[in-house]
């Protein structure tokens, strides 16, 4: 089977001023340490429980799954040295490396994987990411309490052989296996001490780094793991994740060299930092959008939804309002997925063109269809945040100018907002979606008829069918074709109004090279090296 590539934008920072011949030698006496900003305390460093990108950032450095990512972001074998896929694509037999070790020196066994995965699925664990394992035979039934653990298709045949049976073939199983939920945990350690992941002393992992200090709310320190099988590629001896939440503060800490890498710059310094060599913008695999409630007037009408979509000027919005280099969105799947024909977004293209006159015409037609002489009052809802407010106000002004419609704005605090939108108490509401995996499925699943995330009341059988077909399709080209078709159905009905695809911005000290910036995670430091002081 030809291995298809999963796209990831890679940006390698080349340190300035090390073009002279002696740079290689001088590298030897430079302390190989980097201090980055995690912004918030990682809520959980247990692979089974973590659900957020901050925890994931640390986990990705201290653990390694059967698959890991190479420098260009493609899944490659990690803790496994070999994989056999059965003819029907449903059975994977992994052989673990002989030199796969835990940070305490003991061997990583197939039983550790079996135990770790079944622990995720165990209903008593209450893992929020257990559903990522539902592709495995019997997993969903066991997790939902309808099946037995013996029927789950995860079996350690011996210390080095792990057999995984899937319910149906899955085109992106290798990408899926790079996720932290699929990391192994050391069985005897976890069985003995349920709180093993709460402190550094009891923490054992199998990745390029090991956890050596966790000062809650202050810093997390990881150091090079000498027991890691591929430790020769790891250059850094120590990575310190500071936990600094205030944007102005971490920006100033970068300026005084207390931090070597920061992300999400304070908006007031963006203009001045954009020209700096330390500045970089990396697409982030997600989309900022407004959901339409298709059961609340006036968005019951497809033409009116389209009118409200066409009347937004996304160029102006991203250039003058959000200003962090966001890409205007004319579809749902963000750029970043590499397919045999090129980037999924480029081959799929843009699904609509902004046009104020057309929008106005559609609005009138839609109102005529519904028999309205006056448009029902429209409110835009968003969760309370500076950025959301700015965007909503800009969109409000654009509707006034382009459609002649006065819309109201409403905002609520986050958890209340989630409750309100979940109950369908909105007409047009702001939401963001970021893919944990770089695959269109992770994005498009959002609007499945039975997805808990789909708050729009939009259910489309053709869409659901295309998505189901795409998931079992083994041939990459046909698979991407099905996904394009599904996206086309979605963009035809427009249960949502895409605004932009996210971007992360970074400031990175020029003393480092080989830092990798994935589109769906924070910077990966496995190969990073400090080359100057």
């Amino acid at each position: 089977m030809k291995k298809w590539l999963v796209g990831m934008l890679i940006l390698v920072i080349v340190a300035a001023g090390c073009s002279n011949g002696s740079s290689g030698e001088s590298g030897a006496d430079i302390a190989q340490e980097i201090t980055v900003n995690a912004m918030s305390e990682p809520p959980d460093l247990d692979p089974a429980l973590a659900t957020d990108t901050t925890s994931g950032w640390v986990l990705d450095h201290v653990f390694e799954g059967l698959y890991t990512k190479d420098e260009s972001g493609n899944p490659v074998l990690g803790a496994a040295e070999n994989v056999d896929v059965s003819e029907d694509g449903k059975t994977y037999t992994f052989t673990l490396r002989d030199d796969a070790k835990w940070s305490d020196g003991s061997n990583v066994t197939a039983q550790d994987f079996e135990y770790g995965w079944k622990r995720v699925l165990n209903p008593d664990t209450g893992s929020s990411f257990a559903f990522y394992m539902y592709y495995i035979k019997g997993a969903e039934a066991y997790n939902k309490g309808d099946g037995a653990v013996e029927d789950v298709g995860i079996t350690a045949q011996d210390d080095k052989t792990l057999v995984v049976e899937l319910g149906a073939p899955l085109g992106y199983f290798d990408e899926l296996l790079t996720m932290w939920t699929f990391y192994p945990v050391k069985q005897d350690l976890v069985e003995e001490n349920n709180a093993w992941s709460a402190e550094a002393d009891t923490y054992v992992s199998n990745g390029p780094f090991k956890l050596t200090k966790w000062a809650h709310d202050s810093e997390v320190v990881i150091e090079k793991n000498e027991n890691y099988w591929d430790n020769s590629v790891v250059k850094l001896d120590k990575v310190t994740y500071k936990i600094v939440n205030d944007a102005t503060t971490y920006y100033q800490m970068f300026k005084t060299n207390e931090l070597d890498l920061i992300q999400t710059l304070p908006s007031d310094v963006l203009d001045q930092e954009k020209e700096s060599e330390e500045y970089s913008e990396v697409p982030y695999f997600g989309t900022y959008m407004y959901m339409f409630n298709v059961e609340k007037e006036p968005f019951t009408n497809e033409k009116i939804r389209r009118a409200f979509t066409l009347a937004v000027d996304r160029e102006t919005l991203t250039k003058n309002v959000t200003k962090s280099g966001e890409t205007p969105a004319y579809a749902f799947v963000p750029p970043g997925v590499e397919t045999p024909e090129g980037d999924f977004r480029e081959t799929g293209g843009e699904y609509f063109e902004e046009d104020a006159a057309e929008a106005k015409r559609l609005l009138e037609e839609g109102m005529e269809e519904e028999g309205w002489t006056e448009l029902p009052e429209v409110s835009i809802s968003y969760n309370t945040a500076e950025n959301n407010k700015k965007i909503a106000e800009a969109v409000q002004a654009m509707y006034k100018d382009n459609l002649g419609v006065d819309v109201k704005l409403e905002n609520q605090e986050w958890k209340t907002y989630l409750d309100t939108t979940q109950q369908g108490n909105f007409q047009m509401a702001r939401m963001g979606w970021i893919g944990v995996l770089v695959d269109p499925v992770v994005i498009l699943d959002y609007y499945l008829g039975d997805s808990p995330n789909n708050r729009t009341n939009w259910v489309n059988e053709e869409y659901d069918q295309l998505m189901a077909d795409a998931k079992v399709e083994q041939d990459p080209e046909t698979r991407y074709d099905l996904l394009h078709q599904a996206e086309a159905v979605l963009m035809e009905d427009l249960p949502f109004n895409p605004i932009y695809h996210y971007t992360n911005n970074y400031l990175t000290s020029q003393n480092f090279e080989n830092i990798v910036y994935p589109v769906n995670r924070y910077p990966y430091l496995k190969w990073a090296e400090k080359v100057s002081e």
């Binding site: 809520p43 709310d217 810093e219 936990i243 100033q252 958890k415 409750d419 995330n453």
Partner: protein, 308 residues
Amino acid sequence: MYIVKRILIMLLTIWVIASLTFLIMKFIPGDPFASDADVLPEEVLQNIRAKYNLDEPIAVQYVLYMKDLVTFDLGFSIQSETRSVNSIIADGAPASALLGLQALVIALALGLLLGIVAALNHNKVLDYASMFIAIIGISVPSFILAPLLIKYFAVEWGMLPVASWGTWQHSILPTLALAATPLAVIARFMRSSMLEVTNQNYIKTADAKGLSKTKLVIRHGIRNAILPVISFIGPLFVSLITGTFVIEKIFAIPGIGRYFVDSIFNRDYPVIVGTTIFFSVLLVLTLFIIDISYRYIDPRIKLTSGGE
């Protein structure tokens, strides 16, 4: 007898606060497990809720919580599933308390000094200078003062680190930012209290007796004037040592200040009640100690449970 009665009242107060907090927080709309990122099937959600007893009726949840509370077990955080509320408080309290104590010492020392100097030089230059400082301290909020301190001491002059925690240098700027407002309040308080006292007849008598100026000020002036300041210090002490959201956020201090605020936004029920109980226990205890200390500062006050 008086002490026993006071302790019983203290326990009752804490129980009422804990109960009210427990009930009120259940009425905040929103769900601790709601998120835009987790696609949680209903069955999984049930399992997670059961872990925190949230599948039980509120009355049962309340009884279960109170049972644990009696053994000082505040439960586990919902946000950080592997951390208990006890350990969150234990990890965060020392940093907050250290900053709070340092700030209190500075605020008291300088505040009292400024107040006394101002009062003794009533309507003279020193008075105006002291009160000018005090007014600045009150009117510049900490979220303005903190970035200013960082800008000059850390960024421009490079004397101290910008933020984070670890060495004593890290604690200087946040202590100053934290001390400014209470310092100013204490100075103004002390000044007016002192002015009032110096107009009393016993001061004039003592003066007429030929007592030295220093003895007069210390023994008769300050000792009497400080009483109202002390009753103000109690709550101030508790609010300082339990951390402040703004200062801890700006200086990246690993304290507990932020948990008082963040827990509510996250609907992290065990942390909301846990931190509230922690705060009220400290407050009630401090007020108790202050009441006792009056007895020693002012012998006129008697510790009797009966009315005067």
